[in-house]
Symmetry: C2
């Protein structure tokens, strides 16, 4: 059993801020925990416009706080987001997240993020496979 | 892309209450979504004592609301839980959860729960594999 807190990982290498300062991701479970998924708390700043694309990962996002808009950039369809909204990128869809108020969401990635990925110029996390010990 | 809300699934077969009324689990992502994990919001009543054991599943639990105590029944070790606490049952540990105030947690299961499991007499979820379409 592993027990951690969000406070424990704040300021460590599990706590990653975007270069533009628009989002911050605290990864409480990562690939090296070897459970087949990673589990993150992501906060996104009010008023920011964020284009994301996980070409190599499936992501589920469940909103805990905040409101805003999600756009499926493949179809143009828009969704209002509020606490209790969940979106599942089961088709690796390019998407845009625009918070009206700061959003806090819990996110699951499969395959798990290693923590060494950075968004490339297209907003894509590269696929990095954790070496077995 | 799939977009759902906690409200959408309330009262459906994705919304499961325990026989003793101590906990309720809203499964917003299940095995038939075919993403390799399931994702649940579980609420557990204040003052209840809950023994759990997932012999066939790994579970990560991140507490969003409430406080209480977690006991690792394999070792006897106790942990205080509060918003921001996460526990990862990477060794299928038998454990006890005792909320002081109602707990709300977001939970990830691997392999994904199908929604047809019930806790057996030992508090274990049996392993049910979703048939491919």
């Amino acid at each position: 059993m592993i027990v951690r807190t969000t406070a424990d990982i704040t300021g460590t290498e599990r706590d990653v801020e975007s270069e533009d300062g628009n989002w911050r991701s605290k990864r409480i479970v990562l690939a090296n925990d070897k459970v087949g998924f990673s589990f993150h708390e992501t906060t996104i700043q009010a008023g920011s416009v964020n284009n994301f694309h996980y070409a190599n990962h499936i992501e589920a996002v469940w909103l805990v706080e905040g409101t805003g808009k999600l756009t499926d950039l493949e179809t143009g369809e828009e969704y209002a987001l509020a606490p209790g909204s969940m979106y599942l990128l089961d088709g690796h869809e390019r998407h845009r997240v625009e918070p009206d108020t700061q959003m806090r969401m819990l996110c699951v990635f499969n395959p798990p993020v290693t923590g060494r990925e950075v968004h490339d110029e297209n907003g894509v996390y590269p696929l990095i496979v954790e070496e077995s010990a």
